[in-house]
Every structure is written in structure tokens, then in C-alpha cells.
């Protein structure tokens, strides 16, 4: 801590923190542009000028940029100084020299950092009379809109896109007052993190292109804290709605999870909520029009009433509450996790590893802080994108020590980068094929899954002789294995990353062995295990059987209840069809008309994440609550309510049939399953109030409420009540005015502070700007490993992979855009999703007589399918990659051996 003086008053701030960060943390309104808590300082915009004095006697002082000046004991500055004010105001005026003043037609208007700062500078009159420069804008693809005339040249966009996220198809061009930020030529931005430009840009150059299609001002949005449902990272989001349409997703800061950013799948996948495949009313097969909810429930409940053996198939993409309700309806023995056998086994194994330890799970924040990383088998960019962004930051950890030795503060971004150049810390990536993260890796290895497992075992053995060493030749050279082991052992915060995407138990075992070996060596290792979906881990924690078992359990003619799950995606169309045929009534509770729902005898329209509350357990074991944003039209209600209604109508479920509110559900869950004891504390209960009121989902400026229906009726409809949360659906209620008046962090519906309308208002909700939210970052970890941890897995390493001269080993490959079910329904995401493909390396293409871009027939035990041929040079010989989950891709058990040959047309 250092005692510094700001305008003659003393404050304690962390020693070495830059004065801008310190001033903002102390609550001063000091304007800035180029600085960003996650990107550091570069001193380009000159907006944060303050006067610094040498000592008490110095009366003249000199202007310094607060962001570029470290707080040291007895630092004396003035924010209020007239010279500093004049200079800041001048910066405000300069920035408007070319800015078009087009706020009324600019999507950023009302949440524009530039607007906020101009007001803060009291820069209200423009003297400049000259012509403004104009640019030609670019088409950057379906996500990000480009309007360069609004640019103020703060360089944040390039710094995020290139330096932080590693994108290389975006840059600064030209110079002076005409620097252009964009691509060399029009085209889709390649980085899967491009959407962050929308929030990083302090004005309206980069805006959300999907929002444009149904635009609404920030102040007209009803928002709630939400959780991304498009992978297991569990990024925190703010979902915004107006007039029944979900309008957009923005980042919701969570220091432990996603920090300031989101991936594009998470930001743009939301469009499925508004999509044409939504189910909005109950459907009964054979009836043309929608059924009344009571009819549908009565019909679905009648076969349940007899106590016949109904099977409930849960879902890793549904909330804990929904799954738990299904479990209550059908009973724990007849409840299925909704995962296929292999996935169920592997996700349960992940759960076991996290529960038994010894390595605790790494949060995304931990991953970014790791100073040596081994990635085994996982293409994280495509399976857990934000983990890839975190790992990209991890490679800066070790070199940062060299910067510190040169006495360069970590926030002095350009200085750090100039000093470190291309130096990177140890990140080793062993995957089946090249991944988008390879560019920052110290070394990469590409091998078949079993060979990856062997590499892992060899590393474990190098760390701990007690771990078994693989026999025979290894797919990586011994020196490299030694280097990896050495780097992990030497690290202060080593991390092992693996996951279930390859469906390989051996890979998971090997990763666990490395973690064990590091633990045995006394190293504080963490582990990040990637699971597929937003609630995979939660579903595994609820127990239940897998889909194979469920099929076996299902008595012919018994009812089958499927919760938010599309079974052909899990076990293939044929097996699903057999299951459906065997079932009597097929009741599907889902928000989307999936192929499963199409087969159903009864469909009950479920709420999406935006239309109901729910708790999800991310891959780290962190339970997080997503809150309802708006009341969906039609008969849509939360899945757990439909299931509760079924309990009531069928007389099943016991006490659960009496559930009225979400708190009833979480309360029961916490009582019944000890692993979920903490789940009630993930967010305050519905009875929570601030100053006697609820927290308003609508901002105080929300407009149009009374005028909206005025042509029909002048009576305002009664606003819907919310029995499930402490939020209100209207502007009535608590409006955050931090500090100190802010909601508990899990209940922050949007960030706003007086004078701060943009996303940067989050500053005012943090303990230290850039640090955790006050009151702690939201979410509760449900899983911590038991000390001292389980013993290492027994058994030998798998034997080496032998390519076959007739068959290929087909392994799954993932696409950030396309592989995940719900986001693939969003048009913007779908536009970037590839066609279903099979990938081979050059030699194998040749061997199979295939041509890149042509079609191939893949014949496995699960049947044959026709796929587009892709060339992936890094694939090992004998291994074929199959893009999973993509449009037009039939299900196939993976990994599996398959024959591959050209489709007729290509012969």
C-alpha cells in the first residue's frame, strides 16, 4: 500500500498501481479512453491527464497521464487542477474534430463511453469548422458492424483483437488523423472473439450487427443477469429484451470466470431464442392447432398416474432445477442424465476427478494466471472458447517476471510487449490436429488419442517415477517430454487441461496422472477439464443413468419424458427411433422444435434461459444462476413448472408437487442431495429486497411503456409478478447507484453508474477497478477436492496407435460455430458454420483417393454417411476427423473405425 494525495487528501492505494486505476477505484470521475483494465495502459489518448507535484512545496506541478504513472508513497496529484481540467477538456474537443456527432442514429448512443467522457469533460461546444474525414466501411461478417467515421483512434480495438486475442487479420492502417482500423479488405473477421470489439470500442465504430436487426437503446432494454448456455465455461452475460424479443447478449463481468469478454458463439448464439423453431404452445400429435395447456398436461399425466415405469430423460443443457424436477417426477431410479453412454461415463469421470482430487479445478481466471500449461487432447478454442482466450494470457505470466526485473509495471502494456517481444511462457499442446491456439504454444504435438494419452503418461512418469511409463516408441521425442515435465515442475501455478471431447478415457486418465505426479512432487497444480455443455457437470452430479441404460429400462409402451434434449444427437437417429417406438406416450418438454420434439406425442413449450430462471454448473464446478429476462408470450413456462404440473396432475412427485417457486426447488435440491447443499446460496432468494424493494430489470429511463398500447387501451397492463427472483420486471424497484448502492453481485441486472452509461460503468461495481465485484464474484463452487486426494489411477498406459491400411480411426472434431446445438440455430452463427465434413491429412487423402472439397462416404458400424472432404495436414496418418454436430452430419459413434472412400460422384 502507498499513501498518495489527490487534491490534498490522502488515500491508501496498492503500491505501483497506475494512478488512473487508483483514481477510478477511489471513485473519482477521471475520463479515459485507451486504457482498459484487461488491456493495460498505453498512454495514447491523453485523456486521463492529471497534475503531478513533486512534493508539498511544488506549486506548479506538471501534467502527467494518470494511466502511465505509478502510485508511489507520497505521490501528489490533482485531478481538479485547472490546467489538468483544461487539457482534458481539450482532448475532448480534439476527439470531436472528426467525430460525426451522429449520436441519434448511432447504435452506441446512450451507452457510449465517448458521450460519457465528453459530458465529464464538459466539452459541449464545437469550434472546429473544417471538413471531417470520411472512410469507407467494411463488411466484417455477420457479427460486427463497422462505421469508421466515428473512430477516435484510441487503438483499443487492435490491442484487443491482436495483442489480447491473437487475431491477425485486423490492424491499424495509415496514420495522422486518418488511421483506419479494420481488415486489409472486406471479409469475415477470423477471430472467434471479434464480438468483443463491440464492447471494447468506446464509441460506435464496432457495434453488434445482430442487434441492428432489432435495435433498441440500452435504456429501453429489460435486462437480467444470465449465464451463457453455449458451452461449459459458464460465462456470465447480460441478456437484454424489449417487446418480447431477446435483443442481445453482453458481457457480465465475473473476475473468476470470463472477466470482460465473451466468445462469439456466446455473444451471438442467443438468436435461437427468437427463432422460427421455437415452441410457444403445447402440441398434441395429430392435432393441427395448439392445445390448451391443461389438456396437454392432463393427457401427458394420465399414463404417469398409474405408476407405470415412466422414464425421464434429463439434459446437460437444461438447468439443475429442470433436471431435478424430472428426477422428482420419475424417481431417481428411472431418471437418465440425458447423455449417451460414453459421454455419461466420461463426464462422470471428470466429476470424480474434480471431487477426489488432488488437483482443484481451475477457473478461467486461474487458467489465465497459470505459468505453465499442458493441454492434452482438447481443442479448447472450439470446445471451450473462453478457456483458449485465458490460456492465451497464461503465456505472458513467466515472461512478465523479466519485465518486472526491468521494473516495468505489468500494466505498462507497450513497454512490456516491447521488452518481451515474442517471448512466451511454457504452453504445451498435444492434440489430434493443429488448433487455433498453437501459435502461442512452446511446442505442439499431434497424435492419435491413445498416443496423446501415452505422451501424458510419459510426462507423468518424468515427473514421478511411480507413474507407469508407456512402453515402446512415443509420438513425441523424449527431450520434449522432459522439457514439458521440467516446465510444469518449475512453475508456480502449473495447469493441466484436458476434457472429454475426444471421448477418450485414456486421455483423461493421462491428464489425471500428470496432475497427480505434480501433486506428488509438491506442486500446486490445478486442472481444467472441459465438458461439453452448460450443465454437463450438473447433470452428472444429479446422477441417473445413461441413455443406453434408459433404453434398457424402458418397458415397451411406458411413457417417456424427454427434457430439453434431442436424442438423435446423442445416440443416432436409428437408436432414438427405436426408443421412441418402444415408448408409449412421448412427452417432450423443450423450447425448440427439435427432431425429438417433432416425434413427440405431446410437446410442452419450455422457457429458454432468457424466459426462466435456472442454475447451471460449469466445468469448474461453479453453480451460477441465470435469471429470467422477460415473460415469454404464449404458454411458455419453465421446464420445472411443466414437470411440477405433471406431478400434480398425475399425483406423483410427493412433496415436489407442491413447489411454487424456484426457491422451493433449490431448497428441495439442497436438502435431498448433499452435493448441492450450497445451491440455495448461489443467489439471494426471491424474498430478498433492497430498501424494501425488488431490483428493477428495466432502467429508470425505460420509455414507451404507457404509449405502447395506447391505440388499443389506455389502461396499462399489470406488470407480471416474479415469484422466483428478487428482480422486478419493470423499472419500479431498486436502480443501482454505485457506490455503494449496488445489488448483490449475482443479481446485477446491468451495469450503470451516474455519468457512466457505457459498459465501463462496471468499474464502479468492483473492489478495485479490474478486480472482483464487490461482495465477491458471483457463483459458488460446489466441488472442492477432498484432501489429500485420491490415489493415482492404476493400470498401464495404452499401447501405441497403429494405423490400419483399410480403415481409419475416426475421431470427433469440433467447430466453435456449428457444433453446439442451440447456437447453430442462430442465423449469424449458422452463417459461419461449416458443412459436415471428414478431415484427413494429405497422405491419407491420397490413399483414399479423395479430393479436398469433394464428397466422401464414411462407412462405420453405425451406417454410412456422406461428408465433405477437408484437408487437415496436421492429422496423424490413419486418423480421420469428423466434424460433430454440424448441419447435415448424421450421428456416428466416435471414436470408431470406419472405411472412407470417394462418393460416387467423385470417382
Amino acid at each position: 500500500m502507498a499513501t498518495i494525495f489527490i487534491d490534498q487528501r490522502s488515500y491508501d492505494v496498492p503500491d505501483g498501481m497506475n494512478l488512473l486505476d487508483a483514481s477510478l477505484t477511489l471513485g473519482f470521475n477521471l475520463p479515459y479512453f485507451c486504457w482498459h483494465p484487461a488491456l493495460g495502459s498505453v498512454g495514447a489518448c491523453r485523456q486521463c491527464a492529471v497534475k503531478q507535484f513533486r512534493d508539498e512545496k511544488d506549486m506548479r506541478g506538471r501534467l502527467v497521464m494518470a494511466c502511465m504513472t505509478a502510485a508511489a508513497p507520497n505521490t501528489r496529484i490533482s485531478i481538479d487542477d485547472p490546467d489538468a481540467r483544461e487539457f482534458r477538456k481539450s482532448v475532448g474537443e480534439w476527439l470531436m474534430v472528426h467525430h460525426p456527432h451522429d449520436c441519434p442514429v448511432c447504435d452506441e448512443g446512450g451507452e457510449c463511453h465517448l458521450q460519457d467522457m465528453e459530458v465529464m469533460d464538459q466539452q459541449t461546444y464545437r469550434r472546429y469548422r473544417g471538413l471531417k474525414r470520411t472512410f469507407r466501411n467494411q463488411d466484417l461478417g455477420p457479427f460486427v458492424n463497422h462505421e469508421m467515421n466515428r473512430c477516435i483512434q484510441c487503438y483499443r480495438c487492435v490491442r484487443f483483437y491482436r495483442d489480447y486475442a491473437g487475431g491477425r487479420d485486423f490492424d491499424a492502417f495509415f496514420l495522422r488523423d486518418r488511421v483506419f482500423f479494420g481488415r486489409q479488405s472486406d471479409g469475415v473477421l477470423e477471430s472467434p472473439f471479434s464480438g468483443n470489439l463491440v464492447e471494447v470500442c468506446p464509441t460506435g465504430v464496432f457495434t453488434d450487427k445482430t442487434l441492428k436487426l432489432h435495435f433498441t437503446r440500452k435504456w429501453d432494454e429489460r435486462t437480467a443477469p444470465s449465464i451463457c448456455v453455449h458451452c461449459a465455461a459458464g460465462c456470465n452475460t447480460i441478456a437484454g429484451e424489449r417487446y418480447g424479443l431477446l435483443r442481445r447478449i453482453r458481457n457480465r463481468f465475473n473476475g473468476e470466470v470470463n472477466g470482460y469478454f465473451l466468445c462469439d458463439r456466446g455473444r451471438y448464439g442467443y438468436e435461437f431464442v427468437n427463432g422460427p423453431r421455437r415452441v410457444r404452445a403445447p402440441r398434441i400429435a395429430g392435432r393441427a392447432d395448439a392445445a390448451a395447456p391443461s389438456d396437454a398436461v392432463a393427457r401427458a399425466a394420465s399414463p404417469l398416474a398409474g405408476g407405470s415405469g415412466a422414464i425421464g430423460i434429463g439434459s446437460p443443457r437444461a438447468s439443475l432445477e429442470a433436471n431435478f424436477a424430472l428426477r422428482a417426477l420419475v424417481g431417481p431410479d428411472r431418471f437418465c442424465s440425458g447423455m449417451g453412454a460414453a459421454e455419461h461415463r466420461l463426464v462422470s469421470e471428470v466429476l470424480r476427478l474434480l471431487q477426489e482430487g488432488p488437483a482443484p479445478a481451475a477457473s478461467l481466471h486461474d487458467a489465465a494466471q497459470a505459468d505453465a500449461v499442458l493441454v492434452l487432447g482438447e481443442d479448447v478454442t472450439n470446445t471451450a472458447p473462453m478457456l483458449a482466450l485465458a490460456l492465451r494470457q497464461s503465456v505472458r505470466q513467466q515472461p512478465m517476471k523479466a519485465a518486472a526485473a526491468l521494473r516495468i509495471p505489468a500494466w505498462d502494456d507497450t513497454a512490456v510487449r516491447n521488452a518481451l517481444q515474442d517471448e512466451r511462457g511454457p504452453l504445451y499442446i498435444a492434440t489430434v490436429a493443429a488448433t487455433p491456439l498453437d501459435d502461442v504454444a512452446a511446442a505442439t504435438m499431434h497424435a492419435a488419442p491413445d498416443d496423446l494419452a501415452r505422451i501424458g503418461c510419459a510426462i507423468a512418469h518424468a515427473l514421478d517415477q511411480a507413474a507407469p511409463s508407456p512402453r515402446g516408441a512415443l509420438a513425441a521425442d523424449a527431450a520434449l517430454v522432459g522439457r514439458i515435465a521440467g516446465a510444469l515442475r518449475a512453475a508456480e501455478r502449473p495447469l493441466v487441461v484436458a476434457g472429454v471431447s475426444l471421448a477418450s478415457q485414456a486421455v483423461l486418465d493421462a491428464a489425471a496422472r500428470v496432475a497427480h505426479a505434480l501433486h506428488a512432487a509438491g506442486r500446486p497444480v490445478r486442472i481444467a477439464l472441459v465438458v461439453p455443455e452448460c450443465n454437463s457437470l450438473g447433470a452428472a452430479m444429479l446422477g441417473g443413468c445413461d441413455l443406453d441404460d434408459a433404453t434398457a429400462l424402458l418397458w415397451p409402451g411406458s411413457p417417456l419424458i424427454v427434457l430439453e434434449n434431442d436424442l438423435p444427437r446423442r445416440c443416432g437417429a436409428d437408436r432414438a427411433a427405436r426408443l421412441f417406438e418402444r415408448a408409449g406416450e412421448l412427452v417432450v418438454v423443450d423450447h425448440t422444435l427439435t427432431p425429438t420434439a417433432e416425434r413427440a406425442t405431446i410437446v410442452l413449450p419450455a422457457a429458454t434461459f432468457a424466459e426462466g430462471d435456472g442454475t447451471y454448473v460449469n466445468g469448474e464446478g461453479r453453480a451460477q444462476r441465470a435469471f429470467q429476462v422477460f415473460v415469454a408470450g404464449g404458454d411458455v413456462q419453465e421446464s420445472w413448472r411443466w414437470l411440477r404440473d405433471l406431478m400434480r396432475a398425475s399425483g406423483r412427485g410427493g412433496a415436489a408437487a407442491a413447489w411454487e417457486t424456484l426457491d422451493d426447488v433449490t431448497g428441495a435440491l439442497a436438502r435431498e442431495l448433499p452435493a448441492f447443499a450450497a445451491v440455495r446460496d448461489v443467489a439471494p432468494p426471491a424474498t430478498f429486497r433492497i430498501a424494501g424493494t425488488r431490483i428493477a430489470r428495466e432502467p429508470a429511463r425505460y420509455s414507451g411503456r404507457t404509449a405502447r398500447d395506447a391505440n388499443v387501451t389506455v389502461h396499462e397492463p399489470e406488470p407480471p409478478g416474479d415469484p422466483d427472483s428478487a428482480l422486478s420486471f419493470t423499472m419500479e424497484g431498486f436502480q443501482a447507484q454505485p457506490p455503494p448502492a449496488q445489488p448483490p453481485s449475482a443479481l446485477i441486472p446491468r451495469f450503470w453508474a451516474p455519468g457512466w452509461n457505457s459498459v465501463q460503468s462496471v468499474n464502479y461495481y468492483q473492489t478495485v477497478v479490474g478486480g472482483p465485484l464487490r461482495g465477491g464474484d458471483p457463483g459458488l463452487r460446489l466441488i472442492e477436492p477432498a484432501a489429500p486426494g485420491a490415489p493415482a489411477a492404476a493400470g498401464r498406459a495404452p499401447s501405441a496407435f497403429e494405423p490400419d491400411d483399410r480403415d481409419w480411426l475416426c475421431v470427433p472434431m469440433y467447430e466453435i460455430f456449428g457444433s453446439e446445438e442451440l447456437s447453430a440455430l442462430a442465423p449469424s452463427v449458422a452463417a459461419l458454420a461449416p458443412r459436415a465434413y471428414v478431415a484427413l491429412n494429405d497422405g491419407d487423402l491420397h490413399r483414399a483417393g479423395l479430393r479436398e472439397g469433394g464428397d466422401a462416404v464414411v462407412a462405420s458400424a453405425d451406417g454410412t454417411c456422406r461428408l465433405q472432404v477437408r484437408r487437415v495436414a496436421s492429422l496423424p496418418p490413419g486418423v480421420a476427423g469428423i466434424g460433430v454436430g454440424l448441419q447435415g452430419a448424421p450421428w456416428m459413434r466416435l471414436p470408431d473405425r470406419a472405411r472412407i472412400h470417394p462418393a460416387e460422384r467423385d470417382r
Binding site: R168, D171, F173, L175, Q184, S185
Partner: protein
């Protein structure tokens, strides 16, 4: 496609720096020497050799004024318009050069013989006004002589 000659010259430059990126400006100058200017296609040709993306290359190229990103005529006339030359008649010299070359300021003549560009100080202020054609510096130029001077460049 880079010609063999271009490739050899660029590879020689690459040995002079510890990073490939450092040779990017030299590489673009080499291409420009051979092709007159640096086209989008040239950027695409260079990118893999320098291990930079076309975006990165153009970010660099567009910063510097001696990397031409638009086609130029056979001869490039640079007329100094910085302070000393300005005082001593750079304006008239520019006009005269434009008339003689048949090229507008900042543009190329219809027959593509000349491109005329104003340029910052050429470091010959004691002989103002000056202009440079294809690297030949001409001192103390009388605007009246512009035509005869340019006649030498076919």
C-alpha cells in the same frame, strides 16, 4: 508469385535481422523496385515468406510514404513542398511539373509515363527548389526548365 530474383533478394534481407517481420519494409521495397508498386497481390505473395498476414503487411505499408500501394507511372516525380522549397517557389514548380508531365498532383499521366507526387523535405534545402525523378535529385530548378528536365525521362 514472387519471381526468383525477388525471392533471392528478400531472402538476403532476411538474414540481416533477427526476425522476419523486420525485413517486411525491405521486402516491400524490393517488390516495388521490380514491379513499380506494391499491389494487393504482391502483399499476398509476400505474406507467407515474411510470415505476416496481408493485414499486417498493409498496416506497415500504409504507414510509410515510399511504399506505393497504388500503381504509378514509369517515372515518379517527387517535388519537395517543405518549407525552404515552398519559400523558393515549390508551388510554381509543382504546377510546371504537372503541366509538363501531363499528370495531376498526386496522380499519373494518361500515358502512364509520369506520376507526380508532392514530397516532404528532400534534404537539399540549400538548393531549393528541388525535385527528384526516379531517385535523381535535381537542384535549384527553375520552373521554366521543368519541361526540358522531364524530357529526359522517356
Amino acid at each position: 508469385m514472387l519471381s526468383d530474383e525477388e525471392r533471392h533478394e528478400i531472402e538476403a534481407e532476411l538474414t540481416r535481422y533477427p526476425t522476419r517481420r523486420a525485413a517486411s519494409i525491405d521486402a516491400m521495397r524490393i517488390v516495388q523496385r521490380h514491379r513499380g508498386w506494391v499491389s494487393d497481390e504482391a502483399l499476398r505473395d509476400l505474406a507467407p515468406l515474411i510470415q505476416m498476414t496481408v493485414d499486417e503487411l498493409d498496416g506497415v505499408a500504409s504507414f510509410y510514404n515510399m511504399i506505393f500501394r497504388r500503381a504509378v507511372g514509369r517515372h515518379v516525380i517527387l517535388v519537395c513542398n517543405s518549407v525552404s522549397c515552398w519559400m523558393l517557389g515549390a508551388g510554381r514548380l509543382l504546377d510546371a511539373a504537372a503541366a509538363a508531365a501531363g499528370a495531376p498532383q498526386g496522380g499519373t499521366s494518361a500515358d502512364r509515363r509520369f506520376t507526380l507526387l508532392p514530397i516532404v523535405c528532400l534534404g537539399a534545402c540549400d538548393h531549393a527548389p528541388v525535385l527528384m525523378v526516379d531517385g535523381d535529385l535535381h537542384h535549384d530548378v527553375d520552373p521554366a526548365d521543368a519541361a526540358s528536365l522531364l524530357a529526359r525521362y522517356e
